[in-house]
């Protein structure tokens, strides 16, 4: 973004629909088609569309994923990118490690020792908040209130909340996670899609 570009030179353009490399699986397309019927217009379907894409693209939304959602919902690329970059649960900046551990550091959790957990995680994994371990296994993030203050300090991994956590529990959690193949962001996205699909059936 900070690249210097000579004024007046033609800029690279966004891909045309026929140039897109579409990655949605058949079942994903079917899910999206089902979700489309839940809303009065396709604009409203952008959020669930992005969840499907986040699952299909392995736990994050690269520009191609955003373009695919826009194409499938007949919206402009920019509009969908605007939505995707607004919400923090869509991973647009970079691909997270296989497992994403989100530590709530908001008030209640903070009071109950969230930063001790953060420090422990950072030391144990050798990475800072927002970073991914070199083996690509873990990414740790700090997040705002997860609405589970009764379990403070709480972690979110995939669609699961864990808490109140202690350092000993963290060791076990990490060991268990190493054995899980499905990336947590994919698992979370899939769970959200399922909820959307179910809600529509009611």
């Amino acid at each position: 973004m900070s690249e210097t570009v000579a004024i007046g030179t033609p800029r690279p353009r966004a891909p045309r629909p026929e140039e897109l490399d579409l990655k949605f699986s058949e079942s994903a397309v079917a899910e999206l088609d089902a979700l489309k019927t839940h809303y009065p217009d396709l604009k409203s379907c952008i959020l669930p569309g992005l969840w499907i894409a986040q699952r299909e693209y392995g736990g994050w939304l690269p520009p191609e994923a955003i373009a695919e959602v826009a194409f499938r919902l007949n919206r402009s690329f920019a509009e969908v990118e605007g939505v995707a970059t607004f919400y923090t649960m869509y991973n647009t900046a970079h691909k997270p490690g296989r497992h994403m551990i989100e530590v709530c550091t908001c008030l209640s959790c903070h009071v109950c020792g969230a930063y001790r957990i953060v420090d422990y995680l950072e030391e144990k994994l050798g990475v800072k908040l927002g970073e991914t371990t070199p083996d690509g296994m873990f990414t740790i993030h700090e997040v705002e209130c997860l609405d589970a203050c009764d379990r403070a300090p709480v972690l979110q991994i995939g669609d699961q909340y864990v808490g109140p956590v202690t350092s000993e529990m963290v060791d076990k959690i990490l060991d268990d996670l190493r054995k899980v193949e499905t990336p947590s962001a994919v698992q979370l996205s899939d769970a959200v899609v399922k909820v959307h699909l179910r809600d529509g059936d009611k």
Binding site: G8, T9, R13, S76, A78, T85
Partner: protein, 670 residues
């Protein structure tokens, strides 16, 4: 935007003055009725209000049955608040002023205040509002945020993210007016940034407008960048001469040189918008290719000549060619020049071979719907040509009609068009199939034909352009559709696309009885039946057989604003003033006659077309010369009463000429 709910009015009290306003009118508009102003950033009268910037905060209260007034506890945004009965508005109270100071202080927290190096400085709403309503000193001592400052979004539009105040005008323009929704806000909160997808090319054909509506210097023009300060500019109202739509523009110039084009309001034509072709397409005024002195060929070389020498040469050349002379012209020439060009050939030289058309098959235009009239149509068939490309302002109206008034649009074109996005039906014409598809529509049997019939059944219009004549079978297709329109009571519009093509047509710059048309003339040059050819600001080398024709012509006059490929073939080259370098009238595609006054002087010895022809005619035939374009307009109106509005002072918005096609002057000269 006045949200008109029926015709009911309500009474509101603004700063103690009671007035009647339409129910539901936005308060920001209502106060204008009293000559007051509420400062705004995000509000734009032609787009939906969003209430994003809070600059327009006012105090609101309501009259109670007992006559007292109950004020609302918090200030309200005037741009989203519809007027209702008994409303009390304060725009000038102490608390309103405090609120404005607060809002501006917040906006300036994230603004770099680099006004001394900002193109917008001097005409910047943020600067103006801060001066009028803002705090006089800053309490901000922290580091400012830093973001990219000179990012080219496209070859025309530069983005400075530090200056953006996140008002969303640019985003809403692409969403509501031009329709591609190419700009959107990425990220959120203080990091929110207007941008294209991945900051890739901003491809809209109307991108230049966001430069004008951005209330700060966040979006600036790559072309105008650092070329002038607004207070150094002089401006002249002008008409854009990049295409036939005739948008009203401000022609900004500095020290006699063209600097930039901005949109000017004309509700009947462009409202306030411009297209990029117009906004960025006037650079030729300053081009090094401008012709500055008459040139006369001596052997293989051009030598600079005086006008007298050039005319002498021309008279010799024309006289030796006798009646075998012909004239071809472009369409970026004012009515007055075209009229005398026509007269020179048809009356003075006795030739009937003149033409202004360059399409593969030739025909005349037919226009029944004025540009603003499109808004009121129930159904519109777009046939054969992409309106966003060929008729940009007609396109914006069409989009407005479809998105705001529910006009049903059917697009039948060879290529994908911008209009597909709001069309109910978009159908493609296969290569070479124009006539076939038109026939199919007229026959009324196919699915497409039924859809078209449905679209045109009530208060419909067909929109197409002369470019369709470039397609094989295009001319015939247009004829079929014209008949179809007549049969189903729809209006038929084959808009011309050349800047003053409509003027040329009305003035009869067309072959007379037995005269040759464009292609006949070019052929005639090759076969020797045309000995002398006059090119008025056109370049036949760009069309098939053009080079050969120019090579074969015994005597060639090239009259133009800039040098072109055709110049090389000429015997005499005449430098001509560009549109804004002369007084003159222009006829746009809806037959709107608009007057332009001279903004800057023509470079070197160049003269306006009308003067050149007046002087040439004088040398060929004893006559009274014309001394100014107004006299010529009188002569035009005498010859063709349709032009009568031009003989007196035209209203500012121009006047639409009547369509009655009483055998124009095509036949026997003006």
């Amino acid at each position: 935007m006045a949200v008109d709910e029926g015709h009911r009015t309500v009474s509101v009290t603004i700063n103690g003055i009671e007035i009647e306003v339409p129910q539901g009118e936005l308060i920001v508009e209502s106060v204008k009725r009293l000559g007051l102003e509420i400062p705004v950033f995000c509000y734009h009268p032609r787009m939906k209000p969003v209430g994003m910037c809070r600059m327009c905060l006012v105090e609101i209260g309501f009259k109670q049955p007992d006559g007292s007034v109950r004020m609302m506890p918090k200030p309200q945004a005037g741009c989203t608040l519809p007027a209702s009965e008994g409303m009390v508005v304060l725009t000038d109270s102490e608390s309103v002023h405090r609120d404005r100071k607060g809002v501006l202080e917040f906006l300036l927290v994230n603004h770099p205040l680099d006004c001394p190096v900002c193109d917008r400085g001097g005409e910047c709403p943020l600067q103006n509002n801060t001066l009028a309503y803002g705090p006089s000193t800053s309490r901000f001592i922290d580091l400012k945020r830093h973001l990219p400052k000179a990012y080219p979004l496209s070859q025309y539009v530069m983005l400075d993210l530090e200056r953006c105040i996140q008002c969303g005008r640019c985003v809403r323009f692409t969403e509501e007016i031009s329709g591609e929704h190419e700009l959107a806000f990425r990220f959120r909160g203080a990091s929110m940034q207007p941008s294209t997808f991945q900051l890739l090319d901003f491809e809209s054909k109307f991108s230049g407008n966001v430069i004008e509506i951005c209330p700060v210097g966040a979006l600036t023009s790559a072309q105008y960048r650092f070329r002038a300060r607004p207070w150094d500019l002089q401006t002249t109202p002008a008409v854009c001469t990049a295409c036939s739509n005739g948008c009203n523009v401000w022609f900004d110039h500095r020290a006699g040189r063209f600097v930039r084009i901005n949109g000017r309001i004309n509700e009947g034509v462009n409202e306030e918008w411009t297209c990029d072709k117009g906004k960025f397409g006037h650079d030729y005024y300053n081009s090094t290719d401008r012709l500055r002195t008459p040139l006369v060929r001596k052997g293989d070389q051009f030598v600079e000549a005086t006008w007298a020498e050039a005319y002498e040469e021309i008279v010799k050349g024309l006289e030796s060619a006798g009646k075998d002379v012909a004239g071809l012209c472009g369409t970026r020439i004012a009515n007055e020049g075209l009229f005398l060009f026509n007269r020179l050939f048809k009356q003075v030289l006795g030739s009937r071979s003149v033409d202004h058309r360059w399409t593969r098959t030739l025909g005349t235009s037919r226009v029944q719907t004025p540009i603003a009239g499109i808004e009121g149509k129930k159904g519109v068939l777009v046939f054969g040509s992409n309106p966003a490309e060929d008729l940009p302002i007609v396109f914006l109206r069409l989009r407005k009609a479809a998105t705001r008034n529910g006009t049903q649009v059917t697009v039948v074109t060879p290529d994908v068009t911008e209009a597909d996005a709001f069309a109910t039906v978009a159908s493609r014409i296969g290569q070479g199939d124009v006539l076939k598809v038109a026939q199919e529509i007229v026959d009324g049997q196919s699915e497409l034909a039924r859809k078209v019939a449905d679209c045109l059944k009530e208060d419909g219009a067909i929109v197409t352009s002369d470019r369709v004549r470039n397609l094989p079978g295009g001319g015939e297709a247009l004829r079929l559709l014209e008949d179809l329109a007549a049969r189903c009571g729809a209006e038929f519009n084959c808009y011309p696309t050349g800047p003053n093509a409509m003027g040329a047509e009305l003035l009869g710059v067309l072959p007379g009885d037995g005269g040759l048309d464009t292609w006949g003339i070019l052929q005639g040059c090759c076969s020797g039946t045309i000995k002398a050819l006059w090119l008025l600001d056109c370049d036949p080398t760009t069309v098939e057989g053009g080079d050969q024709a120019l090579e074969s012509a015994e005597f060639l006059v090239y009259q133009g604003v800039t040098r072109s490929e055709a110049t090389a073939f000429a015997n005499v080259v005449l430098p001509m003033a560009a549109p804004a370098e002369q007084d003159g009238t222009w006829t746009n595609c809806e037959r709107r006659l608009q007057r332009m006054t001279q903004a800057i002087a023509a470079p070197g010895d160049s003269k306006p077309a009308w003067r050149i022809f007046s002087e040439v005619i004088l040398r060929l035939q004893p006559s009274t010369p014309f001394f100014n374009p107004r006299e010529i307009m009188k002569a035009i109106a005498d010859a063709d009463p349709r032009f009568l509005p031009g003989a007196s002072d035209l209203p500012e918005e121009g006047a639409i000429l009547s369509a009655t096609t009483q055998a124009a002057m095509a036949g026997d000269g003006a």
